[in-house]
């Protein structure tokens, strides 16, 4: 526990050292508040700027300028007076702002006056037939290996799905000399038309030219199939081929690796387990926390910044982090001078609506059918879920009683959205009406021995005599 927090109370605890968390940390620490930044990874950066201080991929152009823009913010956080602990898991947070954290195999509790949750995004579940086969992984996992270890595919590989990260990853793999045999773009054709009203804002945003250039770069080197409407992976014990349909006959191509990506959604587990109110976001098709303009949640003292507040991308996350930090400063140091960052946030969010509409995943890639696995922990298929609905399961929490979905170690991270939408469709209700799993701590599993070794109090060891 050498890396354990130095104090048991802080003015502000920031959870997550991605763009939002790093920006928030530097801002609150510079205002003189006692600040603790907790992060699960070995170094700062989060997903977007993963391994920013340690990546073996040093040539700037390979990972892109957006990636390297993180270095300055990471530096500002590390040079601030904030205490920063990496490889720290926050496994519990409650409405009293008490956090259970695990560092180096030992756990402790700390109290905060304000908490800024900056736990970012996770990839949307992409449940297709065969998605649990070895050889099928998410694009995000592939990008983690690329950034932290410089690893890229050298076997027959297919990337399927949609969204900015898909194209970025494809470009990065190709720049590093990796192999991609085909890109299967699942963006529904109708989305291009639906997104048109938002096109002007997007074209005047920084994303536009970068995105266009990246897609051009990938298309010059790899066959890109647009308008994919059906997708499945198959193989005997491991992935052997990928089958797809795109406005023509069904096609099957051999593959040892399939990278799936259907965009990202807020990682809500910690905030939901703490009791923060969330609502179904009809545009981004996911749960987002109910927040005020400063990022404050329904629980006094808990703010959420970054993609965990709703997907906005790295630049918006930085400004949301600073805005949440300013709100904490205003609450704890009312006399301090603060800056209003709302116009910067607005600028960074420009063009987002276009991306949200364009990359809304098609229904068949969100709501699977038949034997396609929905809950990987308990191996529950779409049909199993529908059968349970037929005999009385009315929402995700009742479904637990029938199928144990969402009760495995992932606590619904990989099936939650699918279960909500699947049940909503089956029952003719909106996802908001159907609801989500009630999430529980520990948000990440904790060793029994570690829990046993927490400091003790006397009351709980009092004997109880059973009658």
């Amino acid at each position: 526990m050498s890396a354990a927090p130095k104090r048991d109370q802080y003015d502000v605890v920031v959870i997550g050292a991605g763009p939002a968390g790093l920006a928030a940390t530097a801002t609150v620490a510079d205002a003189g508040l006692s600040t603790l930044l907790l992060d699960e990874n070995a170094g700062p950066g989060g997903q977007v700027w993963r391994a920013i201080n340690s990546t073996p991929v040093k040539t700037e152009a390979l990972l892109g300028t957006d990636y390297w823009s993180g270095a300055g913010i990471a530096k500002a956080a590390s040079e601030s007076d904030a205490e920063i602990i990496h490889r720290a898991t926050v496994w519990s947070l409650d409405r009293n702002l008490e956090l259970g954290i695990s560092v180096g195999g030992g756990s402790a509790f700390i109290k905060a006056r304000r908490v800024i949750i900056a736990t970012g995004a996770q990839e949307r579940p992409f449940p297709i037939p065969g998605w649990t086969l070895p050889g099928v992984m998410t694009a995000g996992a592939a990008q983690t290996m690329l950034k932290s270890s410089g690893l890229v595919p050298d076997c027959p590989a297919v990337i399927a799905g949609q969204g900015p990260l898909l194209w970025l990853l494809a470009a990065q793999i190709l720049r590093l000399g990796g192999r991609i045999d085909r890109v299967l773009d699942t963006t529904p054709r109708a989305n291009y038309i639906a997104a048109l009203p938002h096109a002007f804002a997007f074209m005047t945003s920084p994303y536009f030219l970068k995105g266009l250039a990246m897609m051009r770069e990938v298309k010059a080197k790899v066959q890109v199939v647009k308008g994919v409407t059906e997708l499945s992976a198959s193989g005997d014990g491991k992935l052997a081929s990928v089958t797809y349909v795109a406005a023509g006959p069904r096609e099957t191509i051999p593959a040892d690796l399939l990278l799936l990506h259907q965009g990202v959604v807020p990682n809500v587990n910690l905030a939901m387990a703490a009791g923060v109110e969330h609502r179904w976001n009809e545009l981004q098709l996911c749960w987002t926390p109910v927040l005020d303009a400063d990022g404050n949640s329904s629980i006094p003292g808990i703010a959420i910044a970054g993609d965990g507040a709703g997907i906005g991308g790295a630049q918006a996350a930085v400004w949301r982090g600073r805005i949440a930090a300013v709100s904490a400063i205003k609450a704890l140091r009312p006399a301090a001078k603060v800056i209003d960052y709302s116009s910067q946030l607005k600028r960074a969010e420009r063009g987002r609506a276009f991306l949200d509409v364009l990359f809304q995943p098609a229904k068949q890639f969100r709501i699977p059918q038949g034997d396609t696995i929905v809950c990987r922990c308990e191996e529950i298929t779409a049909k199993d879920v529908l059968d349970s609905v037929a005999i009385g399961a009315t929402g995700p929490n009742q479904l637990k009683a029938y199928r144990r979905t969402g009760m495995g170690p992932c606590q619904g991270r990989l099936c939650g959205l699918t279960v909500t939408e699947l049940m909503a469709e089956a029952r003719g209700k909106s996802p908001q009406e159907i609801g989500y799993y009630r999430l529980r701590a520990p948000v990440k599993p904790i060793m029994l021995s570690e829990l046993a070794n927490l400091p003790k109090n006397e009351d709980a060891t009092k004997a109880v005599v059973r009658g």
Binding site: G275, A393, P409, A441, L448, K456, R466
Partner: protein
């Protein structure tokens, strides 16, 4: 518009659902009103213990009545409810505790109950090979076991509905009143009227009792549970301790449920609980001391259900002491799950026939008219 029913049951826990089902079996048409959904609170999230062992003597007749139903649960609700019967074992950690066990079993035998059986260290280790060598023995109730609580409550609810009970979930019962000799309850846009009202509202039931002039010493509690990742099969019976707060059960999928009655903070009006990790830590150390095999497992989830606890730790069960047609069935004090099937059957008998062969008079709400009695053991 008022809908006339034979009985109105407020509360969709195992008790409300079981009573609804048994009333249907007796030919009545009840309505069950549940503000959330059946099994949302204690009934769906408890440890699932099906336990006659270590009960207050006042509860034993109801517990024995229930056990007979549990053993044929599929015939009643078309679902085995995940019920497994590997016994429940109460472990004495030292000789003083074993002496207390001996006295308890002798007392029960004297009262004519034979379900609890004193065991020595050899039999304890035969039943629970993984237990620490230092434990000298304990008590076993061999027909006991455990079931899946949410699945069980859902099965009772489903079967009651199939047999004609009207079920209203997600709608709170409001404006409970008696008019022209009938109980009236509003549920959303509907109003139900019936000669019988069953107050099975769990942690919310004390308010209903108080509203009708029968305040009782009841508090809202939230017993915590946690579950581990799967470990290789090492134990069959449910284990509870004589001296410390622990209950312990391994499911067929390998996960281990750790409970025992440490309490979270309930926020009843928000349907929310805040866990007390320091107390869960005590459970973890107890497990770790007694079962070495558990030390390297991980805790994947912890939670607490909201329920009612009576000051004397036994439920309120039976007719109101003040109002005709009002029946109370609440306050099960962290151990009501096993009682659910039998309690529903007995409640239906009380409602339909005005009496029952099962002794439940010790559980009457009338006991709180007098100065609060001390616990009966």
């Amino acid at each position: 518009m008022t809908v006339r029913k034979d009985a109105i049951i407020v509360g969709g826990g195992i008790h409300g659902c079981s009573t609804a089902l048994h009333l249907c079996l007796a030919g009545l048409k009840p309505v069950l009103i549940e503000k959330d959904y059946a099994g949302r609170h204690a009934s769906g999230v408890n440890a699932g213990g099906v336990r006659q062992l270590a009960r207050d003597v006042a509860e034993i007749p109801l517990s024995i009545r229930s056990m007979a139903i549990w053993e044929n649960i599929s015939e009643l609700v078309d679902d085995d409810c995940g019920f497994e019967s590997f016994g429940q074992v109460l472990v004495a950690e030292n000789d003083a505790e074993l002496d207390a066990c001996r006295a308890r079993v002798a007392d029960l035998n004297g009262r004519g109950f034979a379900h609890e059986e004193l065991i020595d260290g050899t039999e304890l280790r035969r039943l629970v090979p993984a237990v620490a060598e230092s434990c000298p023995g304990g008590v076993v109730s061999r027909r006991d076991g455990a079931a899946q609580p949410a699945r069980t409550t859902a099965a009772f609810r489903r079967k009651a509905e199939q047999l004609g009970a009207l079920v209203r979930e997600g709608i709170a019962a409001t404006s409970i009143r008696k008019e022209h000799g009938l109980w009236h309850v509003d549920a959303g846009s509907e109003t139900f009227a019936a000669p019988v009202l069953v107050n099975a509202a769990g942690a919310w039931a004390g308010r209903i009792a108080a509203q009708f002039g029968e305040p009782v010493p009841v508090e809202t509690i939230a017993p915590m549970l946690m579950i581990t990742s799967p470990v290789a099969h090492f134990i069959d019976p449910v284990v509870i301790l004589r001296g410390r707060k622990l209950s312990f059960k391994q499911f067929p999928n390998g996960t281990v449920l750790i409970g025992g009655g440490h309490l979270a903070t309930p926020y009843q009006d928000r349907n929310e609980t805040v866990l007390d990790w320091r107390k869960l830590s005590d459970s973890a150390s107890t497990v770790s001391e007694l079962f070495e095999v558990m030390r390297n497992t991980t805790i994947v989830r912890a939670w607490a259900g909201i329920e009612a606890r009576m000051r004397d730790d036994i439920p309120v069960f039976g007719p109101s002491a003040r109002h005709e047609g009002l029946y109370h069935q609440f306050g099960f004090s962290a151990h009501g799950f096993q009682l659910g099937p039998g309690a529903g059957a007995v409640m239906a008998e009380l409602i339909v026939s005005g009496g029952t062969q099962t002794r439940v008079s010790d559980l009457s709400i009338a006991r709180f008219r007098d100065p609060i009695p001390s616990p009966t053991t």
